[in-house]
């Protein structure tokens, strides 16, 4: 069918549009030229070495990772509890509650950032790491609820009921039956929250205390002049973290799931 081939070709072009620029960054990270762009003069790991020696970048990387992990902890805890309520129980006003939990997604991040900032200003609290943390958590929470909810629907309640009927108390049931079954959902939610925090720049620029940089704001600051080769190398590292970790986690989850059977 000729039309179908055309549509497939079109799709390939859109995929190329999506990935070509990313591939260019990955490629240029290994360019030995002292400029960040083309032409490619040779293969070199020089920019990764310089990256490892750049204290500002290492500090930003550390801030981003810690912030991401703590955001994942808060957003996933709140998100799992809320999702359990939404999936496991029937109660009046459920649709409203769901919409309310998802609503932060629909508030422009710029507005969310200014609002929280003004609220803290009124409370006479300066910008701090804590502001970044609760801010990132609120941005991640709706996504965690959506992702976790979808995974929870797949878990049957029979196992819990069986444990209860065999004499386990609610606490035992939760920690020995429910939580292990929940783990994939917990993990998916946490990964998503980490990525959202690690990637955020729009709100972070407003919330960060002066002198504190996350990786995206650090890159943003470095961009003022031009794209330096270090940025390409840093981009390579970031992509390895945010793409590599979920892919690896997914592959491992599959591997262990297969082993069990």
């Amino acid at each position: 069918m000729r039309v179908w081939s055309l549509l497939k070709f079109y799709t390939v072009l859109v995929y190329a549009f999506t990935f070509a620029p990313i591939a260019v960054v990955l490629l240029l990270a290994f360019n030995s030229s002292q400029f960040g762009g083309f032409p490619i003069e040779g293969f070199s790991l020089r920019w990764f070495r310089e990256l490892a020696e750049n204290e500002a970048i290492i500090r930003a990387l550390r801030t981003s990772v810690i912030l991401g992990l703590l955001t994942a902890l808060i957003a996933t805890t709140l998100g799992i509890l809320a999702s359990l309520a939404l999936v496991r129980y029937r109660f009046p006003g459920k649709n409203w509650i769901t919409t309310f939990l998802i609503s932060p997604v629909l508030v422009p991040e710029t507005v969310l950032a200014v609002g929280l900032l003004i609220f803290l200003r009124w409370l006479h609290m300066p910008r701090s790491f804590a502001l970044l943390l609760i801010g990132h958590s609120i941005i991640a929470l709706p996504f965690v609820v959506l992702v976790v909810q979808a995974r929870l629907i797949g878990i049957r309640r029979d196992y819990e009921e069986a444990a209860m009927s065999l004499g386990a108390n609610p606490m035992q049931t939760f920690f020995q039956i429910t939580l292990p079954l929940l783990m994939p959902a917990v993990f998916a939610g946490a990964l998503f929250a980490f990525t959202i925090s690690f990637d955020n720049i729009t709100a972070t620029i407003f919330w960060r205390p002066s002198g504190m940089e996350t990786v995206p704001t650090q890159i943003f600051g470095m961009l003022r002049n031009s794209v330096s080769p270090e940025i390409n190398a840093l981009g390579f590292v970031m992509i390895c973290i945010t793409v590599g970790v979920p892919l690896l986690a997914g592959a491992l989850a599959r591997y262990f799931a297969r082993k069990k059977i």
Binding site: G36, A82, V107, V111, I205, P216, I219, F220
Partner: protein, 289 residues
């Protein structure tokens, strides 16, 4: 442990999240409104007041009108282009009988994991002075044709589409995937041409996904300010850039609050309009994957 009555359990589970959102989203929104009536005196100095000076500035200064117009125009352009670019791939992924369909889906989700700022700055490598495009033209001996596309509205639009297109494809895909695969063949046996079958069966049934994707792309574009800062020239600013300038550069908090609230009203009315017609269910579907 005394048993908690079943009808209270969901509320106990929900309380932390509900309190969190109320304290960090709902209350701050109210504060933006209150602050928009405050009076700015000097850099970062403002006094509580109830006056409409900031709102008057917003409504009378043509600079702000230009920004609103630019924002709406750019958001519409990006949304329409994303719909045009995104529909066909979503259709192909949904309908393909390719054995490794999971791979296509994975590649569709993958861009969400690649840092926004890296994806945005990557276009400097394509359109910049040392970019791939001009390099290619030189290589072909067409050096005279060298084009200066960087730091224009064009690059801003390309950057936005690149970042937000996956939202569109994913939403359209989810709605196409939910259509009964027997419907199109049924229309064909009843005598419809392939194009008719698509136009009268598949397309209408996929509209909820297209609408959800469009809403997301529109709202995300309309609320941005970082992309124009990286890829645009001095005249490429959105309403979000005015908020950024007022709060970060000028430290004029009351004006920043006024502009933020105006942005919320502008984009919020689009969301409310959407939810009146489509409801909020479709939006949740795409993320549940």
């Amino acid at each position: 442990m005394p048993a908690i009555p079943a009808d209270r359990r969901p509320w106990i589970l929900l309380t932390p999240a509900l309190l969190f959102i109320t304290a960090l989203v709902v209350i701050p929104m109210a504060f933006i409104l209150v602050y928009s009536f405050y009076e700015n005196i000097d850099l970062a100095v403002d006094v509580p007041a109830f006056q409409f000076g900031n709102w008057q500035d917003l409504l009378s200064d043509s600079y702000y009108h230009t920004a609103i117009w630019k924002t709406l125009r750019l958001s519409v352009i990006v949304t329409v282009l994303a719909a045009v670019l995104g529909y066909i791939p979503a259709y192909v992924i949904a309908m393909t009988k390719y054995r490794h369909k999971w791979l296509l889906l994975l590649l569709l989700i993958l861009p969400f994991w690649v840092s926004f700022i890296i994806r945005t700055l990557s276009w400097i490598h394509i359109f910049g002075n040392q970019g791939a495009l001009n390099g290619l033209l030189n290589l072909l001996g067409l050096g005279d044709l060298e084009v200066q596309l960087m730091y224009t509205e064009f690059t801003v639009i390309v950057g936005f589409i690149h970042v937000f297109l996956p939202y569109m494809i994913l939403n359209v895909y989810v709605s196409l995937e939910g259509i009964d695969p027997n419907l199109e063949p049924a229309a064909r046996t009843l005598g419809a041409t392939p194009w008719q079958a698509f136009r009268e069966v598949t397309l209408p049934l996929s509209l909820p996904g297209l609408a959800a994707g469009s809403l997301l792309v529109f709202v995300l574009t309309g609320g941005s300010y970082v992309t124009p800062l990286i890829l645009g020239g001095p005249s490429d600013f959105l309403f979000g850039n005015l908020v950024y300038d007022a709060v970060v550069t000028e430290l004029n908090w009351p004006m920043g609050a006024t502009l933020s609230f105006a942005l919320l009203l502008l984009l919020g009315s689009v969301v409310i309009l959407y939810s009146r017609f489509m409801g909020m269910d479709q939006l949740a579907k795409a993320f549940g994957r």
